[in-house]
């Protein structure tokens, strides 16, 4: 997993509970990475370290891991907007943004992080105006993705409701989300 994700998690936790607490969270983890405080965005680090930090932080914060992941995802969007504003065009609607997810990941992210192992997305506009998004990744971070969906709605100030219809963790081939936009824009 790229160091960027670890940095976003670090920034979220430091903002939420301060540097001392973050150090304690790290201390309580059995990490593979020797110097977790030295993780940088372009670097690559073990997925297990991310899972361990989430578990430790959730315990410390008294939250479920899924809930924490959702919050991390939602809080990540403003940070990503400030770092990569070109991917978040002000004229776009969330529907357009979701439609461009594969493009952003597979072309633009690869430019910056050449060895990133990226998830795949598939969007389908339904006749009733809803949008089906499938998230396919071996890491199974569907709750993080769910938080990202909420963060995008916040960014575009477009109210939406989301419902997870299927999950890889349940043995399904993909994690499937149904999104209904409440702004009456088709």
């Amino acid at each position: 997993m790229k160091g960027l994700i670890f940095n976003l998690l670090e920034e979220f936790l430091v903002a939420r509970c301060g540097e001392t607490e973050y150090d304690l969270i790290l201390t309580n983890c059995q990490l593979i990475t020797a110097e977790p405080t030295l993780m940088v965005g372009p670097g690559s680090y073990p997925d297990q370290d991310f899972t361990a930090i989430i578990a430790s932080a959730a315990k410390r914060l008294g939250l479920g891991a899924d809930e924490l992941l959702h919050e991390v995802g939602r809080a990540a969007i403003p940070r990503l907007v400030s770092r990569y504003p070109q991917f978040f065009s002000p004229s776009k609607h969330p529907r357009d943004f979701f439609a461009s997810l594969n493009f952003i990941h597979h072309l633009e992210v690869k430019k910056l992080y050449k060895d990133a192992e990226l998830p795949r997305f598939r969007c389908e506009n339904k006749a009733d105006g809803s949008l089906l998004i499938s998230y396919i990744s071996g890491r199974g971070l569907c709750h993080l993705f769910s938080g990202l969906i909420s963060g995008v709605a916040d960014h575009y100030q477009t109210p939406l409701s989301q419902r997870q219809l299927a999950c890889i963790c349940d043995g399904q081939p993909e994690c499937l989300f149904e999104i209904r936009f409440n702004d009456n824009v088709p």
Partner: protein, 693 residues
């Protein structure tokens, strides 16, 4: 002043940041190095790409030149036109096809294809409609007018295309001048029609099949004989349409198509092949089958040619029958001749003995009875001779009423029909063949009997009739005997009356259709005429016209009574049969003549010439016409006539009806004839007549 812990924290952060910066710098160096390598690789790719573009450009230029060459040098006309009828581009072949010097010439000249090029502008509209509906057209044929006004047939293949520089789709295609092909097609069509008409006009049946033995074509004669018409038969196996069996075994004959395909050569059907029509009718056929080969020699199918030989076979059977009858007739004629010689001795001696015996003598009746028996033998011999004749009629002047009566009574005997016979007393005689005319009367009477199975009346009437110029009858003017025979049966329908004299036309189940045909032939050979008239329900009337005897116009010939007794003069009798000579000599001696005998013509001539030099030459010579192994009467008569033009010569023959006897006066110079056997009075009468006494 800062707190020592804060300072420591700050220093720690600084340290972490410095380490991160160091890490990032390392990463940047790595990425920079990678970027350089990428750049080098990219430049290499760019060079390759430029080389590739250059090669591709060259290739495209070559391809363009190649296609341009194809376009410019194509034999077919290639064009692009607008839907409004303007030629946008075309190749030289297109211009040449339409009589223009160059593409630019036709492009500048033609503004409206429909009216400038199309002979029928509606064809262009039709083309556009098809293009509009289907987007493309294959094999569109139309007539176009060339610049010089001549008209050509053109076949076009085109499609609609959308180009970037035109709002409306354009028409792009290719055209070929097919005028020669059209001419060839028309010639072929004419030829096919001619062949079809020829095929339908052929008198034989013709069937064509493919190599699978399925019918591909049949002609009118085949339709009539098989009962299958062309449409029904096409595609059917030959064996279904052309069912043939062996006449004798009734087993199917091998399919001739299979034989031809196996042997690859023309074959003929075996004899006795019968074709069974769809309705079950059977025809005797003769046929042949041959392979149909294309120019490479490959067999494309089989053609069968066959004809109905049913009538021909019947005719051949009839001819065979006639030939058999003729050979039997020759035999019968020989026997009759010998009988006549024998009967001459018997009859002559009997008649002489009868004259030398008194009526009171009991031997008179015995001789008279023997004479009656001999006359019956003579009659039987005559019948044999009648049967022995055939072909050309051997005519003699005779009374026809006797022949009619005898023939009618013979056939009517035992039937439930009656007959009446009327003729005038002065009925003219005629020269006719007794046997043949007897057969005619028998045929007509028999037909009448068969037409009246419940019984009826047959009326026969003879009359003298003079045919005048302008008569409707197909006869020369002159005197004729008319013989009409009328029954009161059901009659013959009008549509059949014209066919009744045709060979093999019959309305009877068991009839062979030859009776009236033979009757017709016999009358024609007598230079006469026969016709039939009928009214349905009122019977049939046959009327025969026979030429009357033009020479004498005698009425019935009546034999002069014999006046035996006191004649005088020397008579020479020539006959190879001693019994005949002796009988004749006895009769002549009885009549008062002096008689010399000769066994053949040579001896007769010698005796006659010797007598000529004496004071008592022969008054007459009676000569047998047929001398086996020696000179006969005809040859001897010629020599005698040369030696003595005034000689009195009398022909005598056992073949009493033969041609020489019939024509002895005119052709061979005889003064008379006497048929064997004869009685005293007949010989006396014939001799007196010849001597002019």
């Amino acid at each position: 002043m800062s707190h020592p812990d804060e300072t420591g924290q700050f220093r720690k952060k600084i340290s972490i940041l410095q380490q991160k910066v160091s890490l990032l710098e390392t990463m940047v160096e790595d990425r920079t190095r990678e970027a350089y390598l990428y750049q080098v690789e990219l430049e290499r790719y760019q060079t390759q790409l430029e080389e590739l573009i250059e090669a591709r450009t060259l290739s495209l230029q070559q391809a363009e030149a190649r296609y341009r060459g194809l376009f410019e040098n194509a034999i077919e006309g290639i064009y692009q036109t607008s839907p409004t009828g303007k030629i946008l581009t075309c190749n030289p072949a297109f211009a040449r096809m339409l009589g223009y010097d160059s593409p630019s010439a036709i492009i500048n000249k033609v503004d409206d294809l429909a009216h400038d090029l199309y002979v029928n502008p509606a064809d262009r509209d039709r083309l556009l409609r098809i293009l509009h509906n289907k987007g493309k057209v294959h094999g569109f044929v139309a007539r176009l007018r060339r610049q010089d006004g001549s008209v050509i047939w053109v076949e076009s293949h085109c499609r609609l295309i959308q180009t970037a520089d035109s709002a409306e789709p354009l028409i792009e295609g290719m055209s070929i001048n097919i005028s020669r092909r059209k001419e060839a097609e028309e010639t072929l069509t004419t030829e096919k029609e001619r062949l079809a008409v020829t095929l339908q006009s052929i008198g034989d049946g013709v069937i064509c099949t493919d190599t699978e033995g399925r019918v591909t074509l049949l002609n009118l004669v085949t339709e009539n004989l098989t009962g299958w018409n062309d449409d029904e038969a096409r595609g059917l196996p030959l064996t279904e349409v052309f069912q043939i069996i062996n006449e004798q075994t009734r087993q199917p004959v091998e399919n001739p198509v299979i034989r031809v395909l196996r042997e690859g050569m023309t074959i003929g059907l075996a004899n006795h092949t019968i074709l069974i029509s769809r309705s079950g009718q059977e025809y005797a056929i003769a046929d042949s089958a041959a392979p149909i080969r294309c120019h490479t020699g490959e067999i494309l199918g089989v053609v069968l040619v066959f004809r109905d030989v049913t009538n021909q076979q019947r005719l051949e059977a009839e001819i065979q029958k006639i030939e058999k009858l003729e050979s039997v007739g020759v035999l019968a004629g020989g026997i009759a001749h010998d009988f006549n010689n024998i009967l001459t001795a018997v009859m002559g001696n009997l008649s002489l003995a009868l004259r030398l015996t008194d009526h009171d003598d009991q031997r008179h009746d015995l001789l008279a009875n023997a004479g009656k028996a001999a006359r019956r033998a003579i009659k039987l011999t005559r019948q044999l001779l009648t049967f022995a004749k055939g072909g050309e009629p051997v005519r003699e002047v005779a009374a026809i009423d006797e022949v009619i009566r005898e023939s009618a009574e013979f056939i009517l005997h035992g039937s439930n029909c009656s007959y009446s016979f009327e003729y005038p007393d002065d009925l003219w005689s005629a020269r006719f063949d007794r046997g043949q005319i007897s057969q005619v009367i028998q045929n007509l009477v028999l037909n009448a009997i068969q037409a009246m199975p419940a019984g009826g009346t047959i009326k026969i009437r003879c009359a003298n009739q003079e045919i005048e110029p302008g008569s409707a009858l197909p006869l020369p003017t002159g005197r004729y005997l008319s013989i009409s025979l009328r029954d009161n049966g059901p009659g013959i329908p009008l549509e059949q009356i014209g066919k009744i004299f045709d060979p093999y036309f019959t309305t009877k189940e068991a009839g062979n259709g030859l009776g009236l045909a033979i009757t017709h032939a016999i009358i024609k050979k007598h230079e006469g005429h026969i016709e039939a008239a009928s009214t349905l329900g009122a019977g049939v009337t046959f009327t025969i016209f026979l030429p009357a005897n033009q020479d004498t116009l005698e009425t019935k010939t009546t034999a002069q009574p014999g006046l035996e007794g006191h004649a005088s003069g020397r008579i020479l009798v020539m006959d190879n049969e001693e019994a005949v000579r002796k009988t004749c000599a006895s009769i002549l001696a009885y009549l008062g003549y002096q008689v010399e005998e000769a066994a053949d013509g040579r001896e007769a001539i010698a005796l006659y010439q010797a007598a000529l030099k004496t004071a008592t030459p022969f008054a007459a010579v009676i000569m047998d016409l047929t001398i086996p192994g020696g000179m006969g009467g005809i040859e001897a008569a010629l020599e005698l006539r040369q030696a003595d033009p005034t000689a009195i010569l009398l022909a005598s023959s056992g073949y009493s009806h033969d041609q020489v006897m019939a024509n002895c006066h005119h052709t061979y110079g005889f003064n008379g004839a006497i048929g064997k056997p004869y009685q005293v009075n007949e010989l006396a009468s014939a001799l007196r007549l010849a001597l002019g006494r």
